[in-house]
């Protein structure tokens, strides 16, 4: 094997902020790599997993070939398999797990919604959204076992519906959803991720003269606090999502192209800022959204 085509990925798959370091080496992957070495990865959560999937999708789109994954640590391989990561056919690997090493899909382990593709056509997408919501309702007592409060299932139904609709309405691409509850140390985390590699928020507002902004992060902030829309007079979706995350004292993270905005409602104290943003990040196609509840 030509070692120059292998990129050793650092162990930065723990949350959206860590994953920025992977995005920083994205251009090397897209232009020079054929193979990604995952041997250093000790943990991977849904946002990083879906972002890696988007990277594979971009690679396939740009290079007409699939990225190869090697040296996948067994627990990571088991997890990726359990989440149907390989089912999308965006990566190749020679490393196979035997049947007895695969995670069983028992009712107990159903604290996840496996990676599901959201098509970019309205009719197909609506069918998929309804299926995801039906599955979420079925598994919600497991997924939300640490955070079961009044109306929380209904809040997540709303959030899933709104964010998935944004994919086919605005991104001009298909996207992915995954959801999981997991523990890190003493913290129990519920994370919902809905991401695409489409045109991004800024481009979708390109022809909307009524909305002014001075950076991508500024536009994202406006989209989550005001009912602006690139397609119609008003758009309530992201405002609704933000309000729900606020009611749940959660964390909303939205990354689009070269910027992100995050709202840390779980750390809110009187008078403190909850919204943080960053511009001029490494460019990554599309819009990635993560909603996190921790307890």
């Amino acid at each position: 094997m030509d070692r120059s085509t292998v990129i050793l990925l650092p162990d930065k798959f723990r949350d959206p902020n860590y994953f920025e370091e992977i995005i920083d080496i994205k251009d090397d992957v897209l232009t020079g790599a054929r193979t990604l070495d995952l041997s250093k990865i000790a943990f991977i959560e849904p946002y990083s997993m879906i972002s890696l999937l988007l990277l594979g999708k971009l690679y396939l789109k740009n290079r007409g070939d699939r990225l190869k994954l090697i040296n996948i640590p067994i627990p990571i391989h088991q997890y990726l398999d359990r989440m149907d990561f390989f089912g999308n056919g965006l990566f190749v690997t020679d490393e196979m797990l035997s049947e007895k090493m695969l995670y069983k899909r028992s009712a107990f382990s159903k604290s996840v919604i496996e990676i599901t593709e959201i098509p970019n056509k309205e009719r197909e997408s609506i069918k998929v959204i309804r299926e995801i919501i039906a599955l979420f309702r079925k598994r919600s007592s497991n997924i939300l076992k640490y955070r079961m409060t009044d109306n929380i299932i209904e809040y997540f139904v709303t959030v899933i519906s709104e964010l998935c609709q944004n994919i086919y309405e605005h991104s001009l691409d298909s996207g992915f959803l995954a959801m999981q509850t997991y523990s890190m140390g003493k913290e129990n985390i519920v994370r919902l991720v809905i991401s695409d590699s489409g045109i991004g928020i800024r481009k979708s507002f390109e022809n909307t003269a009524s909305v002014s902004y001075d950076s991508t992060a500024d536009l994202i902030e406006k989209a989550i606090t005001m009912p602006i829309s690139s397609k119609r007079e008003f758009g309530y979706g992201l405002c609704q999502v933000n309000s729900i995350v606020k009611m749940l004292n959660g964390i909303l993270f939205i990354r689009s192209e070269d910027a992100y905005v995050t709202t840390l409602y779980h750390k809110k104290t009187q008078g403190s800022a909850v919204m943080f943003s960053k511009n001029e990040l490494s460019r990554f196609s599309g819009t990635q959204v993560s909603i996190t509840l921790s307890s």
């Binding site: 309205e122 609506i126 309804r130 209904e154 709303t158 519906s161 709104e162 009912p227």
Partner: protein
């Protein structure tokens, strides 16, 4: 006219409890508009949310907001009342109205049959005076501006603007003799 959303769902071969997506909202609006041809002027359209757990903001935008707008500008104006709304439905409608009002500096509210989280019979943001008027009319069924003014310790003249505003929002009824009624 009573419109049971669960029955419309069944007609469209959609299973409740979730009424979601813009496309579904549009389809409901078209069906309801078709049924509304049988309504007469100033009739109340009672939207029954029995068995509905969630409506998302896209559905609210395509159905409820469109109906509220239509109730004011239709050649045959009408009133709207919501029935059997779950807490999540109420919260989502309230959040949409809140976004709309804060962005447009324009009020949006709708009457409900049951009591809401704001301890009143409407969803939306009304000021105290408007809220008191709605309460008074709900209990007393009919009143003149003078009668409401006496109850609130203010003159009919001072109340005039609030009453007209509520009437233009289709939240109260008015007779040609300037009697006011609840929806």
């Amino acid at each position: 006219m009573i419109i049971n959303l669960t029955k419309i769902s069944a007609e469209m071969k959609i299973t409740v409890p979730d009424l979601i997506t813009r496309q579904m909202g549009r389809a409901f609006f078209e069906r309801i508009q078709d049924k509304m041809k049988a309504m007469h002027e100033d009739e109340t359209l009672l939207l029954d949310f029995e068995k509905v757990s969630v409506v998302d903001s896209s559905f609210i935008d395509e159905l409820i907001i469109k109906l509220i707008r239509l109730s004011k500008i239709s050649p045959s104006p009408f009133f709207i009342k919501l029935k059997n709304i779950s807490e999540a439905v109420e919260i989502n409608i309230d959040l949409v109205f809140d976004s709309y009002s804060s962005y447009n500096k324009d009020k949006m509210a709708v009457i409900t049959e049951g009591i809401c989280r704001n301890h009143a019979y409407f969803i939306g943001h009304l000021d105290e005076k408007e809220r008191d008027i709605l309460d008074y009319l709900r209990i007393n069924k009919t009143a003149t501006a003078d009668e409401i003014g006496k109850f609130m310790g203010t003159s009919a003249r001072e109340l005039h603007r609030a009453l007209e505003e509520l009437y233009s929002m289709r939240l109260i009824r008015k007779s040609i003799q300037s009697q006011y009624f609840p929806v």
